[in-house]
Subunit: 154 residues, 2 copies
């Protein structure tokens, strides 16, 4: 019954309520390893979406950041921008997390959210934004996409 811990696949659509809360799919909650303490870290993703990490996965990133020298200005900027929008959230008794106005705005989220398992993390999208971004990526690099498929698909 137990799949790989901290591994997420599949797509789910939920509504965002007036308080800014979204449900985390029950399957994702169950595959979150117990040492995460029901806690995720949410932050800005690289496209206009929200990234959701299991707490322990995020701590690996933090540990790497600690090793960067503070003398270099570019290092400081990198640390700042990586950590700046991140916050840890535990889901409530109903399995929801609260999204800050800042993140909702960044990901252009209104009432509906599409939650997608990305293997080691989770993405939260506005449906329309996702469609647009994916289309752009495919148009730009379709041959590279096919190469990847050739290497990886069984």
């Amino acid at each position: 019954m137990t799949i790989n811990q901290d591994t997420f696949t599949g797509e789910y659509s939920y509504s965002i309520d007036a308080k800014g809360r979204v449900n985390i799919p029950a399957k994702f909650r169950q595959s979150l390893a117990p040492e995460n303490d029901q806690t995720f870290v949410i932050t800005r993703g690289m496209d206009s979406c929200i990234w959701v990490y299991p707490l322990t996965a995020w701590q690996i990133i933090e540990d790497d950041l600690k090793d960067l020298s503070a003398i270099s200005g570019i290092n400081r900027s990198f640390i700042r921008n990586t950590v700046r929008y991140a916050s840890s959230v535990a889901f409530d008794k109903q399995g929801r997390i609260m999204l800050s106005a800042n993140l909702l705005d960044y990901a252009q989220l209104k009432n509906d959210a599409l939650i997608i398992g990305m293997v080691n993390k989770i993405e939260i999208w506005d449906p329309k934004v996702l469609a647009k971004v994916d289309k752009q990526n495919l148009e730009m690099d379709s041959s590279e996409y096919d190469e990847l498929a050739d290497k990886i698909i069984l």
Copy 2:
């Protein structure tokens, strides 16, 4: 419920009142380890911002300074400039700390402060100054920034 002690992430914006007080985000207060005794050490940061260390973290810096030979003039200058602007502050019952006129001036702070968790320390910025500094850093070293992202982001 307990996250990593003395680890800070996220961005918060607060106002600086007429007395020079700023709020320390509740989350940061909670993740400050008890042996710090609700005390931070504030000093000049490397960019035009204020750096805020947990007391115990700062004590490690002081210990390292003690090991530097006082014979070397450059050592003495380094020690002097590292310690010169540092002072320890405990936050009041409302969770605020007082910033000296000297530090406020150095960081060009007026009415609004942006407080950013930088993993093992905290930065206090004027919003406009931060935008300018970050932009400069990115323009100068964008390729190095991308390399860092490639190495560290999961």
